[in-house]
Amino acid sequence: MIPAKFDYKPASSAEEAIALLTEYGDEAKIIAGGHSLLPLMKLRLANPEVLIDIGGINDLSFIEDKGDHIAVGALTRHRLVEQSDLLKQHIPLLAHTAGHVGDPQVRNRGTIGGSLCHGDPASDLPAVVLATRATLLIAGPNGERKVEADDFFTDFWETAVAEDELLMEIQFPKFTGQEWSFQKFNRRAQDWAIVGCALQHSDNPGIGMINMGTTPVRASAAEAALRSGETNSDVADLADDGLSPPSDIHGQEDYRRHLSKVLLGRALDNS
């Protein structure tokens, strides 16, 4: 399959990318690694008339210690996130989970920003952004703004990034505890999670769920139970509380509800 025709506009800076977005509006899409967008374009689920390539903007690939948080550039490839000593030390959940995205070839190309902007409830990294309570830095024609993880994923494949905006970096607060876990249930090694969960256990615990709604979602009820000191099994029983998991070829809603409890239970027992 070959994508439909488009105009190709490589951008050499974030400013140039935003200027191109401003010019072309909703006719344009940003491409970074292309591992979410190109498959959609091949299937004609996305048909941008203009493709703005930010792959050459090296300034957007970085992992930097900013004191209370680690800033990860939107263009940082999964492989660099997976291998980063800084992230292994300060946000181990992120480094670990990046190593479970797709397969090695996908991780060599795919970027953290691309994965997040795709806004897929079945993706691994959005759950980490929720669990870690990260902040997302977005730039547009009128400057930069910050969006909290809870406000970033707005609908199925939709995020808070407007059509003339670019995700610049993700700011992950340093995690000081030792207790975290990532659980992913799939039937074949490289598959998307049928259900998954990302857990950071601290005074303000974070639990991000994969494939448990139309957007990446937080298990708020389970977080509250964990905060108030309930047992692991009682917390795990609340994994799907208030959530509306989908039914599809990979699993029915009740199966996903069951899986979410099992996986959160494992995460709590392993963390």
Partner: protein
Amino acid sequence: MTFPIEITVNGKSYETEVDPRTLLVHFLREDCQLTGTHVGCDTSNCGACTVLLNGEAVKSCTVLTVQATNQEVQTVEGLAPPDGPYTPIQEGFRQEHGLQCGYCTPGMLMAGTALLSEINNPTEEQIREHLEGNLCRCTGYEMIVRSIQWAAENPDGMPVEIGEGS
């Protein structure tokens, strides 16, 4: 509308223009006539189209040719010179019978090459993890893993010329 590109493939520079929607795998097969790289699933699952882009394994069905401009691509044809010898990983596949129908082989060879350039003495578990993105529908994984182990154990390959047999 075409877009100018300059790509180095197996050490040879290609300066041309492509339709921006041309996938790298099609550029390699149709423009460069390097048909060793296979199109398998065409959905970035099977890994038959794996090539090295600046030394890293990528699935060339999910890379636009324009994304690879000013970069270096290595395909399976770029492993051994025409008059041999095979690289250790190719020789490993020969020694350990690492292929049955052969369709996945170019991708396996390139993924294995990327692995050994990163970890020269991988464990079986590391080999299996690194081949996560490559499917063999003959299910010949045991022998593929053994082939890569052979290459790791014989980093100088075999001192035989291609065609000489052994």
